[in-house]
């Protein structure tokens, strides 16, 4: 088996080549997130077994970033047979810097000049034969995006592998450093290592912590030896080793560049240059940024929503299909299993219904990533974000989490993987949950519809925009306190040239992110839904109540019986179980008919039900049959009555349930925020699954009078709340984390339960305090709902601005004694 490692700098198209050659689909990323998971592809080529590992993109092989350490450890521990170095042909000089480091390892290298099409378009002419000669290794031209070069690459790899014995170790002449290299090489000669001793020696002198750690085990005093060499080198030549090596490597790259590459269009402006003139223009940058974000949301939400018109019927049909297999209800006695499964399907469907929207949103974001706009967003926003402890790279996670109208915190938090700066990364992880979770929107709509019908516009505006300010304030707070001691990282960031995204790449990335949503959010929420079900169902209603409802049911059945006695079809419905069957048949028909599409769909449903029970069908559709009509009328009333009883039972169940008890026990605290037990229950259930907040709240306020009210109106009328209550509720909703799924992902990214618990309790505490303050003060000063919200908004924006404008104190000086032991005086 041939073991191959794929190495290359970020943005060189390494993953595209990987996909091309091994046929396995991968995630292409640099700026949004360098995946540190090693991707392995196993396949055969010409009867040879190949194992190919796609190492993370690295600019170099030093030891300061996680990706570099991972890549180096792989090579050190696994010792691949061939290293394939993917090089961005349009950016050769910088890419060759890594190439030289790879060549030095001593393992045979195959260089792949990728993106040849881009290079040619830019007028860059490359003499790859000459490079091949100069470097002594195979050089292949390819274009991953266009699918060209796969065969040649594999051919080169196998040939190189077969000719390994002829391979002469690659050496760069490091001139002044050579004697030191030799000495260190001798020191480690005794160690038994598969890797090239010279490479190890160079890495040791470079100060590579990974290699030093590994070799200290075999050669205990190696650390001191290296320090001594560093000292003497500095004394003798007034240079430090790391910069010295870097310079020689770049000079070598330069030699290749001058001898083998001709840049015919060097002086002219590229498309990138022209576009950047607008995108990064001082006055146009922000408007363009806002416009793009706005478009992304409009397209994904408005069009995604239109798509749900088509997806919802599919989900509903599935639900009806499953219901067919469940035990049927006996009037108001719904079997637990049926109730449970219907609850689970409803929860799942509500979540799955978001998929079209997320798919479009993620696809648009993937387009922005591929086009190269993301690094530019970071470039524009970095200064602003930095003021609050965040990083330019925090942009994508915050955008995914819902920067304007909505998003989902789960992919947002997952996208923080790539932030190199540890402190900013933690801050981002903890602030993404504050962004606008899409699932919170129905909740806002319900409350706004009930209490702020006329001011809906301005309230929605407040809600959508206040979150980013809150996120900034929280970020600043966290980085100044709890996160103060975390490591920060340099911002040195490449701005890749713009290029057209590939359709396949975009769809792939969007699908991957949607899949993450399904895997994480749906599974977790469903797991919690099970718990919720139990908490809302048990201990159930009292025996007394059961009797009461049984009596109601009996009454309805008696009424029904009286009405249909006179019909000639009476014998079909004279027994109780027959009536029950008919009732279920009728309700089932109605439910299915609702989601049937058009004339043919409706016909199909009719056919299905005729087949099921021809005799009873006429009671659903009596048409001209007067006798059947009598039964139909009575049936409708029966159905209505049953629904009423079911609703009443449900409400009582909730009230008596564990969750209801929990809600009531919290009242003493939450009353300061104006929350009664019903609100508490709604929040508790919504923390688990956002969607259920609306349903739970809606049903809690429905009462059974024939009021003909919409849910919003019912809530407004029956709850006894004022707009001020509503504001407190809304603010609490804004400040609390979206759902359990988000918390789980926070734990994953932060790698600790401690932070997850912090991420849960910190926002809830702050939420209660602030909601209570707003409500209590609002009540004392008799402030209206809208005014209270306005005050809140203004205060938040004000704090954010103040924090943003506090000048940052950074270290502004250099010099003095450095604390490196290089400067030890030896004569003391």
């Amino acid at each position: 088996m041939i073991k191959i490692a794929l190495a290359g700098q970020p943005n060189c198209g390494k993953s595209t080549i990987f996909n091309l050659v091994s046929g396995i689909n991968q995630h292409i990323a640099n700026y949004p997130g360098v995946t540190v998971d090693k991707k392995v592809g196993r396949f055969s080529y010409n009867d040879k077994k190949i194992e190919m590992v796609d190492l993370p993109g690295t600019y170099s092989f030093s030891s300061y970033s996680l990706e570099e350490r991972v890549a180096k450890e792989f090579i050190y521990n696994e010792k691949p047979d061939v290293i394939v170095n993917i090089v961005d042909a349009s950016n050769i000089k910088r890419n060759l810097y890594l190439t030289f480091q790879l060549l030095e390892i001593g393992i045979p290298v195959v260089v792949v000049l990728n993106m040849m099409d881009v290079a040619t378009r830019r007028g860059i002419q490359i003499d790859s034969q000459k490079i091949e000669k100069m470097l002594g290794c195979k050089v292949i031209e390819a274009s991953g995006a266009k699918g060209k070069g796969s065969e040649e690459i594999m051919q080169a790899i196998t040939t190189t592998y077969e000719e390994t014995s002829h391979y002469q170790a690659f050496k760069i002449n490091y001139e002044e450093l050579e004697p030191s290299i030799k000495e260190i090489e001798d020191s480690i000669n005794a160690t038994n290592h598969a890797l090239n001793k010279r490479w190890l020696a160079i890495k040791l002198l470079e100060g590579d912590t990974t290699i030093i750690e590994q070799l200290s085990k075999d050669v205990p005093n190696i650390k001191e030896k290296i320090l001594q060499k560093e000292f003497t080198f500095h004394e003798k030549f007034d240079k430090d080793i790391a910069p010295f090596l870097a310079t020689i490597r770049y000079d070598s790259a330069d030699i290749i560049y001058h001898k083998c590459i001709k840049n015919t269009k060097e002086k002219s402006e590229t498309v990138t240059d022209i576009v950047d003139k607008f995108i990064l223009n001082r006055w146009l940058a922000f408007p363009i940024l806002l416009l793009i974000m706005f478009l992304v949301y409009e397209l994904s939400i408005v069009y995604g929503y239109k798509l749900t018109d088509y997806t919802w019927p599919i989900l509903a049909t599935f639900k009806n299909f499953v219901i067919d297999f469940l035990p049927e209800a006996n009037f108001a006695d719904v079997p637990m299993i049926t109730g449970f499964i219907v609850w689970m399907i409803n929860s799942a469907n509500a979540l799955l219904n978001y998929i079209p929207i997320f798919f479009i949103l993620f696809a648009l974001i993937a387009v922005m990533e591929d086009v190269g706009y993301m690094p530019r967003m970071a470039f524009i926003l970095d200064k602003l974000f930095k003021k609050f402890g965040l990083h330019g790279q925090s942009t994508l996670p915050l955008v995914l989490g819902g920067a304007m109208v909505g998003g989902c915190a789960v992919p947002g938090v997952m996208a923080t993987k790539g932030i190199a700066d540890d402190r900013a990364r933690m801050a981002t992880i903890l602030t993404v949950p504050y962004m606008n979770c899409l699932a919170k929107v129905p909740f806002y709509t319900l409350i706004l519809g009930a209490f702020f019908k006329t001011e809906m516009a301005i309230m929605m505006f407040y809600i959508s925009t206040v979150t980013i300010f809150i996120a900034l304030i929280v970020a600043k707070g966290l980085t100044s306190t709890v996160l103060k001691t975390r490591e920060t990282a340099p911002f040195v960031m490449e701005l890749p040239p713009y290029h057209l995204p590939t359709f396949k790449g975009v769809i792939l990335r969007a699908s991957q992110r949607v899949w993450v949503y399904i895997k994480k959010v749906v599974t977790i929420v469903l797991a919690v839904a099970i718990v919720l079900f139990a908490m809302l169902q048990f201990p159930g209603i009292s025996d007394e109540s059961t009797q009461k409802y049984d009596a109601l049911v009996k009454k309805s059945i008696t009424t029904f019986d009286k009405k249909v006695k006179k019909s000639t079809y009476y014998d079909l419905v004279d027994k109780k179980d027959e009536v029950s069957t008919l009732l279920n048949y009728y309700d089932n028909y109605k439910a299915k008919r609702m989601v049937a599409s058009g004339k043919s769909g409706a016909q199909a449903i009719d056919d299905e039900f005729i087949e099921k029970n021809e005799k009873l069908f006429k009671f659903i559709k009596p048409q001209k049959d007067k006798e059947a009509k009598k039964i139909n009328k009575a049936l409708r009333k029966l159905s209505k009555d049953r629904k009423k009883v079911l609703r009443a039972i449900q409400n009582e169940k909730i009230e008596n349930s564990f969750l209801g008890m929990a809600g009531r026990s919290m009242e003493p605290i939450t009353k300061y925020a104006g929350f009664d037990w019903k609100i508490n229950v709604a929040f508790l259930s919504s923390f688990a699954a956002r969607e259920s907040a609306v349903a739970t709240l809606g049903s809690l306020y429905e009462n059974n009078k024939a009021d003909n009210l919409r849910a919003e109106e019912a809530m407004a009328k029956n709850s006894g709340y004022t707009p001020l209550h509503a504001v407190a509720i809304i603010i609490f909703m804004i400040l609390t984390p979206p759902c359990i799924a988000t918390m789980i992902v926070v734990k994953l990214q932060a790698n600790s339960y401690k932070w997850m618990i912090f991420a849960i309790f910190f926002p809830i505490t702050i939420g209660i305090i602030i909601s209570s303050s707003i409500f209590t003060f609002g009540k004392i000063f008799e402030v209206s709902g809208l005014d209270a919200m306005t005050y809140f908004y203004v205060i938040v924006v004000f704090i954010a601005l103040v924090l943003g404008l506090i000048p940052q104190k950074t270290i502004n000086w250099i010099g003095g004694f450095s604390n490196k032991n290089l400067k030890r005086r030896k004569d003391v």
């Binding site: 790391a242 200064k383 340099p490």
Partner: protein, 75 residues
């Protein structure tokens, strides 16, 4: 003089990196900020920081606080 004082459109050459922040120093070296490397200031960000530079034929952005440590000569 230091890189953070160089203005848009100007070109300069690197003389040395003066910092004890090894991580930053290595990162700059890796990205090509070696002795003698030539660079051109393309622009400053809309909020005046970071700065965009062209070096070794590619574009890179650098915070001014990072640019401060690069000693350069105007060309």
């Amino acid at each position: 003089m230091y890189l953070d004082n160089i203005l848009k459109g100007q070109k300069c050459k690197i003389r040395s990196i003066n910092s004890d922040n090894l991580k930053l120093k290595q990162k700059l070296l890796d990205m090509g900020f070696v002795f003698g490397a030539q660079l051109e200031i393309v622009r400053e960000a809309p909020l005046y920081d970071p700065m965009e530079l062209k070096i070794h034929n590619y574009l890179v952005s650098l915070r001014k606080s990072e640019a401060k440590i690069l000693e350069v000569d105007l060309i």
